[in-house]
Subunit: 340 residues, 2 copies
């Protein structure tokens, strides 16, 4: 059926090990002519090594898992934003000759199984809540190198990559403050659960502190980062927070919902209320008004994560401490000076 190493070896009149060495570029032990001959036969016969056999025999599988929460009771699906990151990570892995196993995780216990069953060389844990990550680390990670993206777990087992959430939020708040805003609503998920949000909240506050201002802690809305939740916040903004002149949302999709809600309630963005988001999704440039936001470079995030993970696998060393990716303010049309 399948063309195996033995077939090639027989046809070339050498041992299987020699073919194996050629295929794996282990030039040291094989003469140029043999390499040439084996290569030709491999190409002719269309030989493709069996990754399962290789990963069974060797330690390494050259397979990296991307584990993404899929806890959402109803949909159990991984979020589109995460799928997009998956695409970036796949590209980085492919460049380096690794393969990507994409796996949604509905329950932390599944992680052990996911890591072990394919003898993954390593795994990226994308966007888990801190608490989930702690539970995951307690479950034995069994020697598989693991790296967390977009999480702030306290434990030391997993290092990580993340955007500079603190600086980004600070940048956003500084932008609004510089425009003259003082009463700024903070809209996002509960920051006791989500480290990313916690960091953004701290950065947000820090901008006020730096400017010698105080922030009124009534000006907060705890919501999920969905368009629907944003819409709701926007609709009741004028009545719930009549004196707010601007909104900082922890995610673009939320910000866009909020903008729509504000418009629906009869006010206008940015004249009555300025809105700023976070992430810089493509989407931001498509809505009206175009959303001012904090850009994080997803490609760089993916590339860094892969570099750290593969580096750690290939050198056998522990990866460096957590790495933070820089952010930028992208000024568009959803922010302006407050009405006087």
């Amino acid at each position: 059926m399948r063309v195996t190493l033995r077939d090639i070896a027989d046809e070339a009149g050498v041992s299987m090990m020699t073919v194996s060495n050629v295929v794996n570029g282990n030039k040291a032990r094989v003469s140029p002519e043999t390499i040439e001959r084996v290569r030709r036969i491999v190409a002719e016969r269309g030989y493709v090594p069996s990754a399962s056999a290789r990963s069974l025999a060797a330690k390494s599988s050259r397979l990296i898992g991307l584990l993404v929460p899929a806890a959402d009771e109803d949909s159990m699906m991984i979020s589109p934003h995460n799928v997009a990151i998956a695409g970036q990570i796949e590209r980085e892995l492919r460049k380096r000759g690794y393969h990507l196993l994409l796996r949604g995780i509905a329950h932390p216990d599944e992680v052990t199984e996911a890591l072990q069953s394919w003898s993954l060389d390593g795994a990226v844990l994308l966007g888990f809540l801190d608490e989930e990550l702690d539970r995951i680390s307690k479950a034995t990670i069994g020697g598989v190198r693991v790296l967390a993206v977009d999480s702030y777990s306290k434990n030391r087992i997993t290092t990580g990559v993340r955007a500079d959430d603190f600086a980004g939020a600070k940048l956003a708040a500084e932008h609004l403050i510089a425009l003259g805003h003082r009463r700024i609503l903070f809209a996002g998920p509960s920051f006791s659960d989500v480290g990313v949000v916690h960091q953004r909240f701290e950065g947000f506050l820090d901008a006020f502190a730096d400017a010698g201002l105080t922030w009124d802690d009534d000006l907060i809305e705890t919501v999920n980062t969905t368009h629907a939740d944003g819409l709701e916040v926007g609709l009741r903004l004028l009545t719930a927070h009549p004196r707010a002149t601007a909104v900082f949302a922890t995610a673009d999709i939320l910000a866009i919902g909020i903008m729509e809600g504000i418009a629906d309630s009869g006010a206008s963005v940015p004249e009555d209320v300025s809105v700023i988001g976070f992430d810089n999704l493509d989407l931001c440039a498509y809505v009206t008004p175009k959303l001012t936001t904090i850009a994080q470079d997803i490609g760089e995030k993916a590339a860094t994560a892969v570099r750290m993970l593969i580096g750690s696998i290939e050198t056998g060393k522990q990866p460096r401490k957590a790495v933070t990716i820089g952010v930028d303010l992208v000024e568009r049309a959803s922010t302006t000076r407050p009405r006087t």
Copy 2:
């Protein structure tokens, strides 16, 4: 190191085969008490079967590939539409106990390697051009069951799943015609390359034929389905096609670009020009005006694809002929009657 079948077998005082039977739910040959005992030990010891070993020894790997075109430098998943489908496919596979190997394909030749190296049980080819698909099928698919989503290849090797592109485009054109539009611009990629677009074009024309109207074949713009290309079309629409009163774009993202271009050129949507898209991305509801479009049920598409593929793998039968998923008109704010 790793807990193996042998460890469990030794501890339970049975043969490896018995443990294997228990683990794989092969109840026929094992007594209830033995099942119970083995189950307990498996749980205690945290045994996870090795997928590589299993797929080496058995025929089946329970691994499905998701192959997506990936032009060399950029990542795949450029289109939001592919992202959405990928997410749904992962969920459907996970439900059925399969794993997903995500793989970008820069060159058709890579497909053979991608299919064989992990002994995939099957693969979904997502959004390949017809011509690429033909080249892929020529390369030996080597017994791996393969199913194409969103392609119209002429060859018989791969069946597929796709939206009813013909009916969808016809619906869109009928909607515009019913509103009173006669000069409708068709904007989309070259339909000689892309089967999906070809079908949509035919459906578009068919609506004119049914209504006893003729369509002026100057009213066409061949562009990529990106926001930027749409913007360009929109900007020059008034000068290039001054008498057009409506635009049918073959993708939402393109339609949204076109709307923005039209607005930028000083005209307004839908008063001056109506615009209709295709796909019904979430995005459609976030832009201003909200985009009228043709909805295709991505969840159903993914579920159908997975069902067909797994069904064909498990029964060993060839999958049914291509399946077409129904579409709907979603009327929002971007279409209205033409100015009189």
